[in-house]
């Protein structure tokens, strides 16, 4: 749904690193290098960002559209 605040396994704080990670990967950087830069070393934490899909961005579109349907 929305990026987890912490790693499920070890509890490292990762939520604040997601936006930078996804932006840099979208711009074409190598994901493994970005993870190294962000100081995410353990594989439990790396898979958290690597496998995350921000589904809330898809769901929120319905709410954005819904606003226009509501009576003023």
């Amino acid at each position: 749904m929305i990026v987890p605040v912490r790693c499920f396994t070890c509890g490292k704080l990762l939520g604040d690193k997601w936006e930078e990670f996804s932006r840099r990967v979208r711009e074409g950087e190598d994901a493994s290098k970005v993870l190294d830069d962000l100081g995410i070393n353990r594989y439990c934490c790396r898979r958290m960002l690597l496998s995350h899909v921000e589904i809330i961005d898809e769901i929120i579109k319905f709410h954005e559209a819904g606003k226009n349907l509501r009576p003023p």
């Binding site: 704080l13 939520g15 604040d16 353990r42 809330i56 954005e64």
Partner: protein, 269 residues
């Protein structure tokens, strides 16, 4: 006991500890993970939530946000003089979160929290808590208190606390034919070829996996991997709530308290 700092920064600390034993190292590790208190949100009162995230989902996320901890000012709720379930200002900090948006979608970050104590604030300002579509709104009040890792993982001050034996890697130059198989297989790149012999670069990184021994085709093997049973590499990585030094100091004073209590009980009998 001899302690040497190998690596140190804001959140992590790596020590070489000599002249001790595994029992002591494990005691230290277990106290760090489950007994050293830190601050986290425990109760959440949701006044209004029209976001896409349900109340319990939101409360769970808010609870996981690590908060900078002041161990000297606050008491554990069970030790506090107020003896109240709700807590007093020596054992509880309230944080408020209010966010709403009119015409565009926004992300609510941990920086939106307004804490009654400016010292007890989220470790990072950029943790996304929720996303709000136009005309959605969140209003909540959260109560943070000290707690221990053994009660819930959100109170654990560390994201990693581990130790390993001090590795000893020896290459027998008489048997080694420099085939290089051990260099290729080592996951930590400890071995390297230097002239006509295999050299060991950073033995502290060795994980004692012994893959190099399996890769060596010589019989008897040209390498030997062993460890010193009385020396350890101890590493601790804080979630940011406390400095690693403060966590270690806290752990040692808790251990001292436990030993004192044990001694008192022995004397009475």
């Amino acid at each position: 006991m001899n302690i040497q700092i190998i690596k140190k920064n804001d959140i992590s600390l790596r020590l070489l500890i000599e002249d001790t034993n595994a029992a002591f190292m494990n005691t230290l590790r277990r106290i760090v993970t489950s007994e050293v208190p830190s601050m986290a949100i425990d109760d959440v009162v949701i006044i209004e939530n029209s976001s896409t995230l349900q109340d319990d989902f939101l409360a769970h996320r808010v609870g996981l946000v690590p908060l900078k901890t002041d161990l000297d000012t606050y008491n554990l709720p069970e030790d506090c003089t107020c003896k109240s379930e709700f807590g007093c200002n020596l054992c509880r900090v309230s944080l408020a979160l209010e966010a709403e948006t009119e015409d565009h979608t926004i992300t609510v970050y941990s920086s939106h929290f307004k804490s009654e104590n400016p010292v007890v604030v989220p470790v990072s300002d950029r943790i996304p808590i929720a996303k709000l579509a136009p005309s959605q709104k969140i209003r909540l009040e959260a109560y943070a208190r000290l707690g221990k890792g053994k009660d819930h993982a959100r109170w654990q001050p560390v994201s990693m606390c581990a130790y390993k034996y001090l590795p000893i890697v020896i290459v027998n130059t008489k048997l080694c034919d420099l085939c290089g198989d051990c260099i290729k297989i080592c996951p930590k790149n400890i071995l390297t070829k230097a002239g006509d012999k295999i050299e060991i670069r950073n033995v502290l990184d060795c994980t004692l996996c012994q893959d190099c021994i399996d890769a060596c085709k010589k019989n008897p093997k040209a390498l030997e991997v062993s460890w010193n049973e009385n020396s350890f590499i101890f590493e601790i990585e804080s979630t940011g709530v406390l400095t690693p030094e403060r966590i270690l100091k806290g752990a040692l004073s808790i251990l001292e308290g436990k030993l004192k209590e044990f001694l008192d009980q022995l004397v009475v009998k």
